[in-house]
């Protein structure tokens, strides 16, 4: 056995896309690591929750004088925080039960509907995550790290908002698809710039997409304060025509809209595209081994551009979804960093559409819960980003999780290559 062969033997198989009956066990097993990663991250972030509270910190200063005070106070803080997270993300079971009883008893469903706000938020928040997470995941599959989803989101939002408010009197059946297509196309074009640069000059997509992010932000600054500005004081666009809205599927005050189902459909489309078409086969081959792809007669450059374009279209849809489904106009602060969060989602979902959907639901839940944590327990919403940073680390470093949990039972898993160095 030569050295090379031994090294190869040690690298275990990455998950095969086609799930065969006996692979379900493996599939379930592959959930263990992400779950442990999330749990670890949540535990670790408890520390930050405690140190963020200056009163608690004061108690800890007197820890040696009165340890129980500091401990109980911290435990109380964490309990409050995490119950806020749960009720914020899923709803308060007591309220739901009461609401349901009132509805059944009196036929008045307002209380019930209001009690569903938590779950409504979770679904609404998770929708852009699904789109953006798919964008990054598709890039990973082609060996590209599209870190510029945020910028693509912005140009997608701008384009769809423009189509949404500037064209009037169209029937919805034309206007809505048109606005969606505009958002996707704008995102695609924006990211294809990075794809073209990568393909023909070798400029690394990580830096170019980040730079394109800043350019997109400045561009939107310019458009929102100039050509696309609504008359009035605020730098926002005119309202989008209702004919371009993504139809709302739940009564007020809930905000659940058709975007969620669109996202699920797009997730299935991405799965189909990657594993059931020759284009997807090429993209995955280029991602797994560009040299072999070239040998087999595929154009590496063309696939970089296609993958980057599709990825950007998905990111553009994430922005479009927010404009047409939630805000109905474009403002500078419309995105709360979906583009950056999507990196964690793609990693957590192992770059598989189903995984991305599950991860996005979790993220939507965290975000919805964190909003409530902020209002109810006074914990800044940025905690989500801290959790995120840690989740990325833990998912990318299975060995670390294994070490923390002393989980020897977890099989050595394939360490998928996500990115390459600066070279071609």
């Amino acid at each position: 056995m030569s050295v090379q062969d031994v090294a190869v033997q040690k690298a275990a198989p990455p998950p095969t896309p086609t799930l065969r009956p006996r692979r379900w066990v493996a599939a379930l097993q592959s959930l263990v690591l992400p779950l442990l990663a999330i749990i670890t991250a949540l535990i670790a972030s408890s520390v930050f929750i405690i140190i963020s509270d200056t009163e608690l910190l004061a108690l800890w200063r007197d820890f040696f004088a009165a340890p129980s005070i500091a401990l109980t106070a911290s435990a109380e803080k964490l309990r409050a925080a995490y119950s806020a997270l749960l009720t914020g993300g899923l709803g308060d079971p007591v309220r739901i039960w009461e609401g349901l009883r009132t509805w059944l008893a009196t036929g008045d469903n307002t209380a019930f509907i209001a009690s569903l706000e938590g779950i409504d938020r979770t679904l609404v928040y998770s929708t852009p995550y699904i789109f953006a997470g798919l964008a990054v995941a598709l890039g990973f599959r082609c060996g590209l790290f599209n870190i510029g989803a945020e910028g693509q989101l912005f140009v997608g939002a701008l384009a769809s908002a423009y189509i949404g408010y500037s064209i009037k009197g169209l029937p919805m059946i034309i206007h809505l698809p048109l606005a969606l297509a505009a958002g996707a196309a704008a995102g695609a074009v924006w990211s294809a710039i990075a794809g073209v640069l990568k393909a023909y000059t070798g400029a690394h997509e990580v830096v170019t997409t980040i730079m394109l992010n800043y350019v997109a932000f400045r561009l939107s600054d310019y458009l929102l304060t100039g050509p696309m500005k609504r008359s009035g004081f605020n730098p926002v666009t005119p309202p989008v025509e209702p004919s371009a809205w993504l139809p709302k599927l739940a009564p007020d005050p809930l905000r659940f809209h058709a975007g969620f189902f669109l996202a699920l459909a797009v997730a299935y489309f991405v799965y189909w595209f990657l594993w059931k078409t020759t284009w997807g086969f090429e993209i995955r081959t280029v991602g797994a081994n560009p040299n072999a792809a070239k040998y087999a007669g595929m154009s590496v450059a063309r696939n970089y551009i296609i993958a980057m374009g599709v990825s950007g279209a998905l990111a553009g849809l994430a922005g479009t979804n927010e404009i047409l489904g939630v805000n109905h106009f474009m403002a500078q602060a419309f995105s709360s960093g979906y583009g950056f969060d999507s990196i964690a989602l793609a990693l957590l979902g192992k770059s598989h559409p189903l995984g991305v959907v599950l991860a996005s639901l979790l993220w939507g839940f965290l975000r919805a819960g964190a909003t409530r944590m902020q209002s109810a327990a006074g914990i800044p919403i940025d905690i989500v980003q801290i959790v995120q940073g840690m989740v990325i680390v833990f998912v990318a470093a299975p060995a670390l999780v294994r070490m923390i949990w002393r989980a020897r039972f977890l099989e050595e898993e394939a360490e998928t290559i996500f990115t390459r160095g600066w070279g071609a």
Binding site: V3, Q9, P13, K276, T278, A288, N289, Y295, A296, M298
Partner: protein
């Protein structure tokens, strides 16, 4: 007197493999001890243990009679052990001096390098041992033969006296091998001891004082060249009688399939690598391209297969112009390509066997309808080929990274040979494989030839070229030195041609086959 080096009961396990199984080995002072075994027998693993790159699971090492704990190369260097690795351990963008002093740098005023002093010392060393090299040259500009001298100088600079040479002749011409043997003899004459790792029987017979044969991680026996012969060593090495020749009937050449005319190709650095090559391969014959690695063979094959656009000249397959063809167009003319580096180019290691078997035909019926992938035909194809080509894999869904080198190569061979093809370009098709797989692939190649396929075989193994080819083209510095009929050619002639000696200056006139 205690031997200078003794290994006792060395055992090393890798996941799923027992690389060394209670290996005993002794090296006497001033001897050249060959360690013989085929690819994968555990020779390199054993030496990496000795050099501190691996830790053994069991066993002890004694250096000059004392028990030695070797945990890192630094420990080994301290004990006077030095190793020239099969793949050179040189930094291409640094100079000879920088490479040699690395890790043992002379300094002045504290941390500052004193390279001038080092260069002086290196000049002295190279004079003493007859290892000519310019200390200020950059490694990337040096030919491999010179690079090997640098590697040896690295050991001498560290005053190593137990020298391990891992397959040192793989990259050399027969003449350079002779020179290397001279150097080794002069090293031993000065009191050094040498372990010479190889899988080539001839070299053992020429240079070794003693030889230890390794098979599947175990020591089969130790003997001296005087007490044995090549046949016996081969049997020890492989564990059964091996025929050292490939059975084949005389070739029956048909029409010209591949024509290359005055081809010029640049390498990655933009330097000319192929300089005016013309050749023809006919249906039903094997044209072997012999030559030391790095003389333009890689670039020639890449140009023919569409991976590298040529600068000038023409390539035609069955009369069709394919000079600027893409790899896809190359395949679609009915040609096949077994690439030089199977893991880099030929396979997607993370893909299952099934997908690797359609890597370049996935877009065509029956595997695809338009842009839709058809899974069923792909799986049927895989099941059939796994059986037909005897690919040892648990199932067709197993990633090829889990297969052994021989089976990985069989995947490529199955994919390329199972299509109807008229031209086969095979580059180093048996590199790093065990004897069983080598025999299998040789058989398949001859079989393809007999079916009327034109075969262009590139190999740096002279034995392989001589055993398989019907005609042999020798390549040196980007040019074809001569094209010779295989049966009338000797190793010596080929060796001289590979070293750049012009055919017309050879003492024995060589019959050259002129291109029309």
């Amino acid at each position: 007197m205690a031997p200078v080096l003794e290994l006792r009961g060395i055992t090393k396990r890798f996941p799923g493999v027992l690389a060394n199984d209670h290996v005993d080995f002794t090296l006497e002072e001033g001897e050249i001890h060959a360690l013989l075994g085929e690819n994968g027998a555990g020779k390199t693993t054993l030496m990496n243990i000795l050099y501190g790159l691996y830790t053994p699971d069991e066993g002890e090492i004694y250096v000059r009679g004392k028990k030695a704990e070797i945990h890192s190369p630094a420990d080994a260097i301290d004990m006077g052990i030095g190793m020239v690795h099969q793949h050179f351990m040189l930094v291409p963008v640094m100079t000879v001096t920088e490479n040699i002093v690395l890790g043992a740098e002379p300094t002045r005023f504290g941390p500052f390098l004193n390279l001038r002093e080092a260069a002086e010392h290196i000049r002295e060393l190279s004079r003493t041992y007859g290892l000519e090299v310019d200390p200020d040259a950059y490694i990337r500009e040096l030919p491999v033969g010179v690079q090997q001298r640098v590697e040896i100088l690295k050991l001498l600079y560290r005053k190593a006296d137990i020298l391990i040479l891992d397959e040192p002749t793989a990259v050399l011409t027969p003449q350079e091998v002779e020179e290397l043997f001279e150097v080794i003899r002069s090293l031993v004459a000065r009191g050094n001891s040498v372990i010479f790792i190889t899988h080539k029987l001839k070299e053992v017979m020429t240079i070794a004082d003693r030889v230890t044969v390794l098979r599947q991680g175990r020591v089969v026996g130790t003997t001296t060249p005087a007490e044995t012969n090549e046949q016996e060593l081969a049997a020890m090495m492989v564990g059964r009688e091996v025929s050292l020749v490939v059975d084949k009937a005389p070739a029956q050449p048909g029409d010209v399939v591949l024509t290359v005319e005055d081809l010029h190709v640049l390498d990655d650095r933009g330097e000319p690598a192929v300089r005016g090559v013309s050749l023809e391969v006919r249906a039903g014959e094997i044209l072997g391209i012999a030559g030391v690695q790095g003389n333009g063979q890689t670039e020639l094959v890449e140009a023919i297969t569409g991976l590298r656009p040529p600068l000038h000249g023409h390539i035609r397959i069955k009369g069709m112009e394919t000079t600027w063809a893409t790899p896809r167009r190359f395949f679609e003319t009915g040609a096949a390509h077994v690439p030089e580096d199977r893991q880099r180019d030929g396979l997607v290691l993370s893909y299952p066997v099934r997908d690797n078997l359609v890597l370049n035909t996935y877009y065509k019926p029956p595997f695809a309808m338009g842009f839709l992938i058809k899974e069923k035909p792909i799986e049927e194809n895989a099941t059939r080929l796994v059986q037909e080509f005897d690919i040892r894999t648990p199932d067709i869904y197993t990633p090829v990274s889990n297969l052994s080198g021989g089976n990985q190569q069989k995947v490529i061979v199955a994919r390329e040979f199972s299509r109807p093809i008229d031209l086969l370009v095979a580059s180093q098709p048996t590199r790093g494989l065990d004897v069983g797989s080598i025999e299998y692939i040789h058989r398949r190649l001859v079989e393809k030839r007999d079916q009327g396929c034109a075969v262009l075989l590139v190999s740096s193994e002279l034995d392989e070229i001589m055993a398989l080819s019907d005609r042999i083209a020798v390549m040196y510095e980007g040019q074809i030195m001569a094209v010779l009929p295989a049966e009338a050619t000797t190793r010596e002639q080929l060796g001289l041609l590979m070293a750049g000696v012009r055919p017309e200056t050879l003492s024995q006139p060589v019959e050259t086959v002129e291109e029309s």
